[in-house]
Amino acid sequence: MEYHRISLDEALPEEQDLREDSAVDRIPAALRPAQPTAAMDAEAFRAASERILTAINTVIDGKAEAARLALTVLLAQGHLLLEDVPGVGKTLLAKTLARTIDCSVSRIQFTPDLLPSDVTGVSIYNQASRSFEFRPGAVFANIVIGDEINRASAKTQSALLECMEEHQVTVDGHSYKLDEPFMVVATQNPIEMEGTYPLPEAQRDRFMARISMGYPDKEAEMEMLETHQATSPLAKVTAVVTAGEVASMIATVREVYVSQSIKEYTVSLGRATRESGMLRLGASPRSMLQLLRAAKATAALEGRDFLLPDDVVSVAESVLAHRIILDRKAASTGETAQGVIRAILAKIPVSPDLAATPAATSTRR
């Protein structure tokens, strides 16, 4: 069994006082009383998000955009897929995000022989009590880091499906609620093809956003060599917000107002992907919902309580690009999914109602 369920201790031998987040010791979430989470004050929200981003940026140089998007996905209750070549800091980003929040974190290193029960948990016969006892799997944590998710078999990958979508685990007919906030941060390597199982479309659709980290620029790289030589940067990171705070931040995001025209804009974006001649598969209705949620989180991070088209535009590429499938012809011409999304964004009118508004609407009496 190559099942690693680690608390980040492993990376930090001289672990200070990280909380004991061993899932084994935890009672299933469903058994605990659900505490209502209230929305957060604007100032507190801003301060909290500021703290998280600052913490991440001290660890990962020159990747503020990626960090911000990761936080956006967390606040939008989505799951994040980090896809890039090895060694650009995918796992580091995931781990840092997890560390900044005072919550349970588990990490699953996906391998070809990983079993679904390793992810979800298993019922074991307890000799003493003469009954089956549920032993939660690695997924029972607030943040689940799935490293190299495409190395596991399709069977194991799909074990994550229910967890990601419904935030619950069903084993032997029993459903167990997962803790809130719950977020899966998966990484995958697009280059290595041998022995990998590319994520099926259904599962890709469950990730709210895909981020490509990209190489850092020269200064950031120099800086990294300078500071990260001796010690792991993670060592300095401490939790800056509690899980409860995150939950209330999420509640805040949920209250962001979405006007009718934004909904229309989002829908017309989705329809445009489905009608585009370049695409074999357009964006799903679920992806529209996730697009809107991600946009709401962006708006909240900007300190607004209503959505702007800019928010939708800013996350559209990350949210939509990994869900659509290019037409064979378009793919052969070197077109990319991102390019198609950008072209659609450049074509869809933002506020059709504005153009239609009669200019002569007089406000005078």
Partner: protein, 862 residues
């Protein structure tokens, strides 16, 4: 607990706090905290505005005195103007919509006109009925006759006053509409200007100080009212941002004044006095048609010669060209009596019916009228036949005037045969027999002859025995040194025109021009028992130096006359000799040999073109021909001969329409801007109006928004395009304004509508300002100063051509116009597409069905 960033500052708090907000107060254009309050209340504004408009229009109407005689017409005008203006004010005070206010004003205009003019012909005194329409037709006919036939000042008959009242009422409505709902107070001056153009073109004294100052005062009141009640953002901005407003204003004024004074030196025709006194503005040029009595003075005063006629003749002395006579000296306005009933068609043979005792000389004259337009044909007296005319012409046996039936004198070339009796003083002296065979209207003395005319006639002719002696005495008297020839003194003395009262003035002042001399002699001769009439036509002109050959007569010298040679002279009837012309006007024309006398003080006269400004008693040396510059005849304008008022009215209208047409994109754009940002500016619709204005402004200055662009992106692009200048420094305000407008619009367009309460009613965080970038600069204040700041920055950084285009041919307006114009085509194209698609579908279905049938048949067969 939730996020509540700028909502609080935006709509609720912003409404009350706009005035007190330090940022709002600091921004230009918000003048005082009281301003929004004054704007909200209707209060006195409509009434003051109505007063201003009424003052302007009624004041401008003051200058119509002189176009219309006396002041009797002014009270109906005043009542009409006041009724219309205050009806609008009343409706506005009741908060009616602008469209209905205008409609109501039109209705009020109709009612007051009915009440004033058609009281007996309407239902209960002011409701129009069928009888009103009949009466209206009668009045309009009368008005058009007046306009066509009379000279200014015209008698204020009901028709013309009705016309004036209606026009002024409409002007009130137009001026008000421009000033109030369209929010173009400055442009409303055009309506007032249109009124002033009429006297400026018709009256020799032009507008006059009284009318001008009253109209100007009204206009200033309109501007003041508009500024007071809805302060224009631009001027408001100027007071804070540019303290040099007064300096700039006086500089503009000085430049305008200098231009006005210098321009008249450059423009030909402004040779007397200052604009518009020197030469009256007349788009058609001076009336080139020779309208007897009416435009004679104007023709003579015209600086250039128009209506040029050339003629060649074999007469021993250059003949007068005579076109019409005036014989009735009653009433205030003498006009030719056409006597259409007794006219005879055809000019092949014209009979004077007078057997002259003198030997007669046949004269052949070939005339080319060129651009001269008149219903009457200029021919030498007395015509026997006129050949070569086009169109149908008729002649009057009594006066021998030749008049077109369905045509006029323009571009006519004809040969006139005339008879000139060889008269001598002896023959005339012998003609003492009682007058017989002359129609009564030439003999009957006019009624109500002023005393001075009668006494003068008696004094002058005392001691003269024969009719000829009496005629000569009158002519001698009029040609004496006591009388001076002047085109200006009748104008200055207020007796420019004709009629018996004018005659009395003339005899008092002893200064006038041909029409005065001719009418004086004609009236006095008639009082002395000599039948008389006034002939109107042309004094002998100048030789052109060219010759014209006429079949059978060889090459004849050619002469020319134009408007400056227009002339009037008396014709007196002597028994046995017929009608005999005299020449009482000093320094004009040629005194006929039979009327010459050695003692005549100014016996020598000249047929040169004398301007008549300086009475000249000494014979002028004959200068070489064509001293005066002659306009090419082809370029001469062509007004209707009989009308002076009409072309002026048309001209005023055309100038107004043309000006409005050229300025219409600018006006439409300005009106749209005022409508968008002139409102109270704190309600949510104002934000999107202001946003649309910002988009259009950017379009005008070549930073057009794209449809797929988010407001924020567009705003950023606009700020970084360089069109606004640097974000720091003097243009920081414009940048701030754009940001603020964007934030306001975003909140209005995408934010939570104010009526919908938050998800959790009482939010503890409400009212906490979020220190985010989006919230900065949004004050909820009026958009007008923001827009004007953006506009001035855009203007400052645009190239001149772009600036010009943005002002006068704004692309946003033109694009909107284009869209509106092509909308029907687009709809048609869409319909055609749909039809085509439907047809194609039907065809394929039919084809599929056929294929199926064929296939089944084939299957069955096999």
């Amino acid at each position: 607990m939730t996020l509540t960033p700028q909502r609080s500052a935006g709509t609720h708090a912003g409404r009350a706090g706009a005035a007190g907000d330090p940022e709002a107060a600091g921004s230009p254009g918000l003048e005082s905290p009281g301003t929004p309050k004054a704007r909200r209340a209707v209060g006195a504004q409509p009434w003051l505005m109505a007063l201003a408009v009424a003052t302007a229009v009624a004041g401008a109407a003051l200058s119509l005195n002189g176009v219309l005689r006396g002041w009797a017409w002014y009270s109906p005008v005043l009542s009409t103007v006041l009724t219309v203006a205050f009806t609008m004010a009343g409706l506005r005070a009741l908060r009616w919509r602008s469209v209905f206010v205008t409609a109501g004003a039109l209705a009020a205009l109709v009612l007051i006109l009915t009440f004033t003019f058609f009281r007996p012909h309407s239902i209960i005194g002011f409701i129009p009925s069928g009888a009103t329409m009949t009466q209206l037709g009668r009045y309009l006919r009368r008005a058009s006759e007046t306009v066509l036939a009379e000279s200014s000042p015209v008698a204020p008959n009901a028709g013309i006053v009705l016309l004036v009242c209606a026009a002024l009422g409409l002007t009130v409505i137009v001026v008000d509409a421009l000033a109030y709902p369209l929010a173009l107070p400055a442009t409303s001056g055009l309506g007032i200007l249109a009124l002033l153009i009429v006297p400026a073109m018709i009256k020799p004294q032009s507008v006059g100080a009284l009318g001008f100052s009253a109209a100007a005062a009204g206009y200033l009141m309109i501007l003041g009212c508009s500024h007071w009640f809805s302060p224009d953002a631009r001027t408001g901005a100027a007071s804070v941002r540019n303290p040099g407003q007064f300096r700039r204003g006086s500089l503009t004024g000085a430049v305008a004044l200098t231009a006005t004074l210098l321009l008249q030196l450059v423009i030909p025709g402004f040779d007397q006095g200052a604009f518009p006194q020197g030469s009256r503005l007349n788009p058609f040029g001076p009336a080139s048609g020779l309208n007897p009595m009416i435009s004679l003075g104007n023709s003579l005063r015209s600086p250039g010669g128009d209506g040029r006629i050339t003629f060649a003749t074999n007469a021993p002395s250059t003949p007068y060209l005579r076109s019409v006579t005036v014989d009735s000296f009653n009433g205030d306005n003498w006009a030719p009596d056409d006597r259409d009933g007794t006219r005879r068609l055809g000019t092949g043979r014209i009979e004077s019916g007078v057997e002259s005792a003198a030997t007669e000389v046949r004269v052949v004259t070939a005339v080319d009228t060129g651009q001269f337009i008149s219903p009457y044909l200029p021919v030498p007296f007395a015509p026997e036949a006129v050949n070569g005319l086009t169109g149908r012409w008729s002649w009057d046996p009594a006066t021998l005037s030749i008049k077109g039936v369905d045509t006029d004198s323009r571009n006519q070339r004809y040969v006139a045969l005339s008879v000139a009796p060889q008269l001598t003083p002896d023959l005339l002296t012998q003609a003492t027999g009682p007058v017989q065979g002359v129609p009564e209207q030439f003999i009957r003395p006019p009624d109500n002859v002023p005393e001075i005319v009668r006494t003068t006639a008696e004094a002058v002719t005392a001691g003269s025995a024969t009719p000829y002696a009496r005629a000569m005495a009158i002519q001698r008297y009029l040609r004496s040194v006591n009388f001076t020839y002047s085109l200006q003194s009748p104008v200055q003395g207020g007796y420019d025109g004709n009629g018996l009262s004018v005659l009395a003035d003339f005899l008092n002042q002893k200064s006038g021009y041909c029409i005065h001399f001719a009418s004086a002699m004609a009236v006095m001769a008639r009082l002395e028992g000599i039948p008389s009439r006034i002939a109107v036509g042309y004094a002998p002109g100048r030789p052109t130096g060219a010759t014209v050959s006429i079949g059978g007569h060889g090459a004849l010298p050619e002469f020319e006359v134009d408007a400056r040679d227009a002339h009037a002279w008396p014709e007196l009837y002597f028994q046995g000799l017929g009608w005999v012309p005299f020449e009482p006007t000093p320094s004009r024309g040629v005194v006929p040999s039979y009327a010459e006398e050695a003692a005549a003080p100014s016996g020598a006269s000249t047929n040169e073109n004398n301007d008549g400004l300086i009475p000249s008693n000494s014979p002028l040396p004959t200068p070489p021909p064509s001293v005066a510059p002659l306009p090419p005849s082809g370029a001469a304008p062509r007004p209707d001969a009989a009308s002076v008022l009409l072309p002026v009215l048309y001209g005023a209208g055309a100038v107004l329409v043309l000006g409005l047409l050229l300025a219409s994109p600018h006006l439409a754009r300005t009106a749209l801007r005022h409508r968008r940002v002139g409102g109270s500016g704190v309600d949510s619709a104002a934000a999107s109006q202001a946003w649309m204005e910002l988009r259009d402004l950017a379009t005008d200055y070549r930073v057009p928004p794209r449809t797929s662009e988010t407001p924020r992106h567009f705003s950023a692009r606009l700020r970084h395009a360089g069109a606004l200048g640097e974000p720091q420094g003097p243009d920081a305000e414009a940048h701030r304004a754009v940001r603020s407008l964007t934030a306001d619009f975003e909140r209005r367009q995408y934010g939570r509508p104010p009526s919908v309460p938050g998800v959790d009613g009482a939010r503890p965080g409400a009212g906490t300002p979020a220190g985010s970038a989006a919230g900065a600069g949004s004050t909820g204040a009026s958009a007008a100063p923001l827009i004007s700041a953006v506009r001035s920055s855009l203007r400052d950084h645009a190239r001149p051509l772009v600036r010009f285009r943005a002002e006068w041919l704004p692309p946003s307006t033109l694009a909107a116009g284009r869209r509106a114009a092509t909308a029907p085509f687009r709809a048609a194209r869409r319909a055609a597409q749909r039809t085509r698609r439907g047809l194609a579908g039907a065809r394929s279905r039919v084809r599929g069905a056929l294929r199926r049938v064929r296939r089944e048949r084939w299957l069955r067969r096999s």
